[in-house]
Amino acid sequence: MTLRLVFLGRLEDAAGVAEREIAVAGSLDAIMAALEPELSAALSDARIKLAVNGILVTDLASLTLRDGDELAFLPPVSGG
């Protein structure tokens, strides 16, 4: 299936793009394995949150991904 990955803040620099599509089996581990190791490492930082289709994921263990889902990787915010 195809997923859309969105990289916010400094993760955009790590990814080199703001968004990209990736064709993988539907698990976060599969996504991480398919990405460049430096990017996977950046995305694995414990402070980074994940939203799927605009909903913040609170329980990664029970995450189920579907074709066409948008995954946003959200580093610590720095607003206002």
Binding site: L8, R10, E12, G54, A72, L74, V77, S78, G79, G80
Partner: protein, 152 residues
């Protein structure tokens, strides 16, 4: 209670917005507000030439609306206004305006400060600054976390 939350990509005029808000809340005794603007000056890399605020549409505005709702629940307000910019800005440009109208002054001040503290460290914005010709992401400040813990 009238509650207005806006996320805008273009420039805005905080004074004009505040004038309209004050006129709309004549029954309130007072309006506390905060205007945040791009600071003219230097960071550790040199003069800041530009600032960019990134957001994530599916989360940012809904999060601001939830913040406004939380402030309304917490203080008796006559009105609440939150306007936040995104995109590229120059030194002196307004970034954020928060205004709270209330019968009692302390409620207005508390709600405005609560909203600002949450916009700073608990809202979906990412900031980068261009200084010395180079863009750099701004990390959250420890002070911002200390500020928000007051409301727990």
């Amino acid at each position: 209670m009238a509650c207005l939350v806006r996320l805008i990509d273009g420039s805005f005029d905080p004074a004009a917005q505040l004038a309209a808000f004050s006129a709309a809340h004549a029954q309130a005794g007072g309006i506390a507000s905060f205007i945040g603007q791009v600071r003219a000056g230097a960071n550790e890399h040199g003069d800041v030439d530009a600032l960019e605020l990134q957001h994530y549409a599916p989360l940012t505005l809904p999060g601001m609306e939830a913040l406004a709702a939380a402030a309304q629940t917490r203080w008796p307000l006559e009105g609440l206004l939150i306007i936040h910019r995104t995109g590229q800005m120059r030194p002196g440009d307004p970034i954020v305006l928060v205004a709270a109208a209330a019968r009692h002054r302390r409620d207005a001040f508390a709600a405005a400060e609560f909203a600002m503290d949450h916009l700073k460290s608990d809202s979906w914005f990412w900031k980068r600054e261009k200084a010395g010709g180079e863009w750099r992401w701004v990390e959250p400040r420890e002070q911002d976390f200390a500020d928000i813990r007051r409301w727990a």
